[in-house]
């Protein structure tokens, strides 16, 4: 399937988010705090990878796009490329992203644009991801002193990457401002129930956080791609 240039660029934006976060979650395999989380994190990673494959295939060959683009050509949010850190860090990243992704896909699914069919399927998966992140936010925020402190630090560290989600993307037909206000209310409510506070730091701005959509990424991203792409790049033209 070929799509026009604007839709293609938008598919790349949405596809890269899913691809990169899926990769980060894949790094948890064999390291999760309980077996149930081995299953859950892999499950979420697989859902995201499935979404990424559909989106990248709208643009071209999924493997060429995943394995042969360089860092500056990726359009994912800086939020999703952030290293896993501890479990709290991963959960806060999941909370921020899955809340956004759920709102986004619900809106796309309700419209009649080129992403509506994909969003209709994805919104069901993402509702589960969001529920998973919310439940863990409540458990960890309102768990022990240590878990609360780890969640507080993770919220502070990741907050600066959240503004980027609501910047307009050509071809993605949603009202970013409205999405942002619903997101802020929703995440704020969960953090409050988890006895955490909404961080006060900037969400974007002078500091270049929020440039992922233009192909400007954080330092760890290049290393992530080096690992992800090395085998594919070592065998040019091979099929697997």
């Amino acid at each position: 399937m070929t799509v026009d240039a604007t839709v293609g660029a938008a598919a790349l934006v949405l596809g890269d988010d899913a691809l990169v976060l899926s990769h980060r979650l894949g790094e948890w395999a064999g390291h999760a705090p309980v077996l149930e989380e081995e299953v859950a994190l892999a499950n979420i990673a697989l859902d995201l990878l499935g979404q990424a494959r559909v989106l990248l295939s709208m643009v071209g060959d999924e493997d060429e796009l995943a394995y042969l683009r360089e860092e500056r050509a990726f359009r994912n949010l800086q939020l999703v490329e952030q290293p896993n850190g501890d479990f709290a860090h991963t959960i806060v990243r999941q909370l921020f992203f899955s809340t956004y992704q759920h709102l986004l896909h619900a809106e796309l699914a309700a419209g009649d644009g080129p992403f509506a069919p994909l969003a209709a399927k994805a919104v069901k998966e993402v509702a589960y991801h969001r529920d998973h992140a919310e439940q863990w936010t409540l458990r960890l925020g309102d768990g022990t002193e240590e878990s609360h402190e780890r969640m507080r630090r993770a919220c502070e560290a990741l907050w600066r990457f959240t503004g980027e989600m609501f910047q307009p993307v050509a071809g993605v037909d949603v009202d970013g401002e409205r999405l942002e206000s619903v997101w802020l209310t929703s995440v704020g409510e969960i953090l409050r129930r988890a006895t955490l506070t909404v961080p006060e730091g900037p969400r974007t701005g002078a500091w270049r956080a929020g440039a992922g959509r233009q192909g400007l990424h954080t330092e760890s991203f290049g290393r992530m791609l080096a690992e992800m792409q090395h085998l594919h790049r070592s065998h040019p033209g091979a099929s697997w």
């Binding site: 064999g30 309980v34 892999a42 960890l140 065998h235």
Partner: protein, 336 residues
């Protein structure tokens, strides 16, 4: 539930006071009769202490193998060379965690707990399959594990679907379905490599060369050195001897290797017309014993990673428990 009258007597007796010696003998003959009649022993049934202990040991070791077995494959998730292969591999590693969960549950029906079993794994008091102490050095190893390691596991596990202990047998039915799917995926991965570029073919051959003998060791020591075999077969936990299963596996693999266009690294491997089976070369039992003793290539690394995941996750489990204690019923919190 078993139906033999004698067996029901034994089940009922379980609720009474600890039986005298004479009663125990009655329970024992009821148990023996149930096993002889190919009935399933269920958690509430009386069973000999040694039967219970053997099952706990075997099911726990099986569960541990699923959990440790995630590591060599997870090692390649972030480097899988195509998105399709990456999805297949992630799904497989996820299935393994799921198999670990079924098996710990089956073991718990015998009166132990997952926590206790994990503790025994972490402290080296319980083992896992020796095969997972070998490293995955190339992408082709993921295929070799699917084809050979899962293939050997299936050969071992299919008979366990008829094991005398009900919860274990039922877990095996589910596990075997998924394992045979993994095995076909591994074969297909190797086939793609074997038919690919010369470099890919060489990668596939090298992986098969390294995984063949360790896979044959998965069936355990030869029959005349297998400590638990005779008793396990009498109890119908095991249905075939180690050597029988190993022979069956070799006979299955030889034609598959041919259709893969790969060779098996055994100069003595040949069809024996008289036996109607393949002859194969001697296994290096010294290596097998070394790996079991903890001196394989990855023993230290595997157990260290498992312990670290558990230790680093302690605060998460404590938080979940603390939250559940305060909010039971409110948020659907899970147990720690």
């Amino acid at each position: 539930m078993a139906t033999a009258a004698a067996h029901q007597t034994a089940s009922t007796q379980e609720y009474g006071a600890q039986g005298a010696v004479g009663d125990t003998t009655a329970y024992e003959s009821a148990f023996d009769a149930a096993v002889a009649a190919d009935e399933r022993i269920e958690p509430r049934d009386w069973m000999p202490d040694a039967y219970r202990a053997t099952l706990v040991r075997q099911i726990a070791q099986h569960a541990h193998s699923e959990i440790i077995g995630m590591q060599p494959e997870a090692n390649w998730i972030t480097r899988a060379p195509s998105l399709r292969r990456k999805a297949i591999l992630m799904a497989k590693v996820q299935d393994e965690a799921g198999h670990g969960l079924y098996l710990y549950s089956a073991a718990e029906t015998l009166g132990t707990s997952r926590e206790e079993l994990l503790d025994k794994l972490h402290s080296g008091r319980q083992k896992y399959s020796s095969i997972f102490n070998y490293p995955t050095l190339t992408w082709a190893d993921v295929g070799a594990i699917g084809w050979l390691v899962d293939g050997a596991a299936i050969t071992n596990q299919v008979p366990l679907c008829r094991c005398s202990y009900g919860p274990y047998a039922r877990a095996m039915v589910r596990v075997c379905k998924e394992e045979s799917f993994h095995q076909r995926q591994g074969y297909e991965l190797l086939l793609a490599l074997s038919q690919g570029t010369p470099e890919q073919h060489a990668m596939a051959q090298d992986a098969v060369d390294r995984w063949w003998w360790p896979s044959l060791m998965m069936f355990g020591p030869p029959d005349d050195e297998s400590a638990h075999s005779a008793q396990s077969m009498a109890w119908k936990i095991k249905r075939h001897s180690n050597d029988e299963l190993r022979q069956r596996f070799v006979d299955i693999c030889v034609p598959q290797a041919e259709s893969l266009g790969l060779t098996l690294p055994d100069p003595d491997l040949r069809w024996n017309e008289e036996r109607g089976q393949h002859d194969f070369g001697p296994i290096d039992w010294t290596e097998f014993r070394d790996v079991l003793k903890g001196n394989g290539p990855c023993n230290e690394q595997r157990i260290t990673q498992r312990r670290r995941a558990h230790e680093e996750g302690a605060w998460v489990r404590e938080a979940a428990a603390a939250h559940a204690a305060r909010h039971t019923g409110e948020t659907g919190a899970t147990r720690a």
